[in-house]
C-alpha cells in the first residue's frame, strides 16, 4: 500500500494557499470594501494587468537591494576581520557602528539625497547601512569564537596570526555569516523600499507610496506580494548557498 507523503515544499505551498483562500473567503463573505482590504484574486489581477510596470519597478528595487546587501556584507565582513586582527579597535569601532545602527534612516534620507542626488545611490547606501550591522555582529562573534583546544593546536604548530585567521577563524565564522545573511537579505528589500518611499523616481517603494497616497490598495498589495515572494526566494537562495559552502556541517532537514 502506498502512503501519501508530502515534501516540505508541498506542505509550505498548501499552507500559503489555505491562507490565501481564507483571506479571499473572509473578504467576500464579510463584504470588506476594497479600500480597506482587497481580496487576493483582485490583487493578483492588478499584478497581471500591469506586468511591465511591476517588472520594471521590481528590477530596480531588487538591484538596489542586492547592491546594498553586497556593500553591507563586504563592509561587515571586512570590519569584523579588522577587529579580530586588531582587537584594540573593537570598542571604538563597535560604538560607532551602534550609533550608526540606531540612526533612523528615514530621517536622514533627504540628507543623502542632498549629497548623492536623486538617483539610486542614496537608496543603495541606506540598504547597505541597514544590512551591515547584523553581518558585523555575527561574523565578529564567529571569528572570535574559535575553540580553545583548536587555538592551542594551532599554537603548537607555530601558526602565525594570519594562518590562524585563515584556516581556523574564517571557516569557523562561515555559519555565522550565513545566519547574518538570513537576517540581512530580507532587510535589504525593506531598506530599498523604505529608501524609495522617502522619494524616488522608480521602484517598488515608489509604486507602493503612490498606491497608498491614492488609497489604491490592490496596487499596494500587489507590490507587497512581489516583495514577499522576493524575500522568500532570497532566503531560500541563502539556505542553498549555505549548504554548498558549509558542506562539512550536517543538515538535518536536507
Amino acid at each position: 500500500m502506498r502512503r501519501w507523503r508530502l515534501t516540505g515544499g508541498q506542505i509550505a505551498l498548501l499552507i500559503v494557499l489555505s491562507f490565501l483562500l481564507l483571506w479571499e473567503a473572509t473578504v467576500r463573505l464579510l463584504g470588506v470594501p476594497v479600500y480597506l482590504l482587497p481580496a487576493p484574486s483582485r490583487i493578483l489581477r492588478t499584478l497581471f494587468e500591469h506586468p511591465a510596470l511591476y517588472a520594471q519597478a521590481s528590477l530596480l528595487t531588487l538591484g538596489e537591494a542586492f547592491a546594498g546587501l553586497l556593500i553591507g556584507l563586504l563592509a561587515g565582513v571586512m570590519i569584523a576581520a579588522l577587529l579580530t586582527l586588531l582587537p584594540g579597535l573593537e570598542e571604538g569601532v563597535m560604538t560607532l557602528a551602534i550609533l550608526l545602527k540606531s540612526t533612523p534612516l528615514v530621517a536622514i534620507a533627504p540628507l543623502l539625497t542632498i549629497w548623492l542626488g536623486f538617483g539610486v545611490l542614496p537608496k543603495i547606501l541606506i540598504t547597505a547601512l541597514l544590512t551591515f550591522f547584523p553581518v558585523l555582529v555575527n561574523v565578529l562573534s564567529g571569528l572570535q569564537k574559535a575553540e580553545r583546544h583548536h587555538l592551542e593546536l594551532f599554537h603548537s604548530w607555530h601558526a602565525s596570526r594570519g594562518e590562524v585567521f585563515r584556516h581556523l577563524r574564517a571557516p569557523n565564522a562561515l555559519p555565522y555569516l550565513f545566519a547574518a545573511l538570513k537576517i540581512s537579505a530580507p532587510l535589504a528589500l525593506i531598506g530599498a523600499v523604505v529608501a524609495e518611499w522617502t522619494g524616488a523616481s522608480g521602484g517598488l517603494g515608489r509604486v507602493m507610496w503612490l498606491a497608498y497616497t491614492n488609497l489604491n490598495l490592490p496596487f499596494l498589495f500587489a507590490a507587497i506580494f512581489i516583495l514577499a515572494a522576493a524575500g522568500m526566494l532570497l532566503y531560500r537562495l541563502t539556505v542553498w548557498l549555505e549548504r554548498r559552502v558549509i558542506f562539512w556541517q550536517s543538515h538535518p532537514e536536507a
Binding site: F118, L121, G199, F219
Partner: protein
C-alpha cells in the same frame, strides 16, 4: 571555492550599479543660451494646479520654446523639497502659503513666493452627512482629527463660527480618510480637491466647511524659490514661470488633454476622474478678483498680510516682514492679462 571570480563579479556588479547613477550633472546657471532648472513638485504626482502647469509646459514644449531645460522631481511631502530648495539642488518648488510663512519665521528659510496659484486655501473640514453636523458649533463634544499639527485656520474658523474650541477633542490622525469613514473621528480635515472625491467614490455623502466661507483669510499653493536664486537666476525663473503659467492656461482650455498628461506622471495608480476633479477644483480656487485683473498667480500685500495676521493671532508665528515672503517681480515681466 575559487575566490577571484566571485570577488570580481561583486566588483563588476557594484561598478555597474554605480555607473547607472553617475549621470545627471548639477544645473549650471548661465546668462545666455539654453538654461537648466530643476522643479520639484511639493508632493506626489497629481493634478495640483502648479504641478499641472509644469507637466503641461514640459510635455507641450513650452519650456523648450523658452530655451529652458526643466527636470521635474517629486517630494515625498515631508518637507524635503524645502530642504533641497534651500540647499540649491532645486530652483523652484511648490508650497502652501501658510506653511511658507511658518518656515520663513522658523527656522528662517529664505523662501519667496514668485506666484500665488491657489488664491484660496486648499483645506476644508469634512464630516459624513449622516452625522447630522450642520455648523462648526455642532462640533462641540465631538472629535476633530488633524494631520500632524492642527491647521492654523481651525481655531480661526471655530472663533468665526462661534464654537468653543475647549469643548472639542483634537486628535492627530495622519493622512488617511478611512479614519473618517470608519467613524474614528467625526470631523476630518481634507484637501478640497482630493479626499472628498475619494470618500464620495466609496459611497458616502459629505458635509464640507471651508474656513474661507467664514471670512478666515486662507491662501493655497505657491511657486516658491529662495532669495538667492531670485538674485542669481532671475532669467531661468522668468522662463520657468512664463511657460508654467502658459501650461495652466492650456490645462484650463484643454482639461481632457491635461488629465492625460498628468496621468503620464502619476502612473496607473491614479484614477483619471479623480485627477479631473482635482484639476477643476483647483482651477476654481486659482481665480480671484486679483487674478481677473492681472492673470494667474498674481499676489497682493493685502492677501499675504491678512494670512500672516491670522497666523500671528493663532500664535503660530511671530510678526514677520511679509513683504519679503512674496514678490511679483518675475510676474511683472511676463504678465498676461486675461
Amino acid at each position: 571555492m575559487n575566490r577571484i571570480p566571485a570577488f570580481s563579479l561583486i566588483l563588476v556588479l557594484i561598478l555597474l550599479v554605480s555607473a547607472c547613477t553617475a549621470a545627471a550633472p548639477p544645473p549650471t546657471p548661465t546668462t545666455s543660451g539654453p538654461l537648466t532648472l530643476t522643479f520639484m513638485a511639493g508632493y506626489k504626482p497629481q493634478a495640483n494646479l502648479p504641478f499641472v502647469g509644469a507637466y503641461v509646459a514640459k510635455e507641450k514644449g513650452f519650456f523648450e520654446r523658452e530655451g529652458l531645460d526643466v527636470t521635474i522631481e517629486h517630494s515625498a511631502g515631508q518637507g524635503e523639497h524645502l530642504q533641497l530648495l534651500t540647499a540649491g539642488k532645486v530652483q523652484v518648488t511648490t508650497q502652501d502659503a501658510a506653511v511658507l510663512l511658518q518656515r520663513r519665521a522658523d527656522p528662517g528659510l529664505p523662501l519667496v513666493s514668485i506666484a500665488l496659484i491657489g488664491q484660496r486655501g486648499q483645506q476644508a473640514y469634512a464630516a459624513l452627512a449622516s452625522s447630522g453636523l450642520q455648523t462648526p458649533r455642532d462640533w462641540e463634544g465631538r472629535t476633530v482629527g488633524y494631520k500632524g499639527t492642527p491647521p492654523p485656520d481651525l481655531f480661526a474658523l471655530l472663533k468665526a463660527a462661534g464654537a468653543d474650541a475647549e469643548k472639542i477633542s483634537l486628535v492627530n490622525v495622519g493622512f488617511d480618510p478611512r479614519i473618517l469613514t470608519e467613524g474614528k473621528v467625526d470631523v476630518y480635515p481634507v484637501f478640497k480637491s482630493n479626499e472628498p472625491y475619494l470618500i464620495r467614490s466609496w459611497g458616502y455623502e459629505l458635509t464640507l466647511w471651508d474656513a474661507a466661507d467664514y471670512g478666515v483669510p486662507t491662501l493655497g499653493l505657491t511657486y516658491v524659490t529662495t532669495e538667492s536664486i531670485l538674485q542669481e537666476q532671475p532669467e531661468a525663473l522668468r522662463r520657468f514661470l512664463k511657460a508654467a503659467l502658459e501650461g495652466i492656461r492650456y490645462a484650463e482650455q484643454n482639461p481632457d488633454e491635461a488629465v492625460e498628461i498628468v496621468l503620464k506622471y502619476t502612473g496607473p495608480q491614479a484614477d483619471p476622474q479623480h485627477m479631473r476633479y482635482m484639476l477643476e477644483s483647483e482651477l476654481r480656487d486659482a481665480k480671484s478678483a486679483t487674478t481677473e485683473q492681472y492673470g494667474y498667480g498674481w499676489q497682493t500685500l493685502e492677501q499675504w498680510s491678512a494670512l500672516a495676521e491670522m497666523l500671528v493671532q493663532a500664535g503660530i508665528i511671530p510678526s514677520i516682514d511679509v513683504e519679503k515672503a512674496f514678490g511679483n517681480r518675475i510676474l511683472e515681466e511676463i504678465i498676461v492679462i486675461p
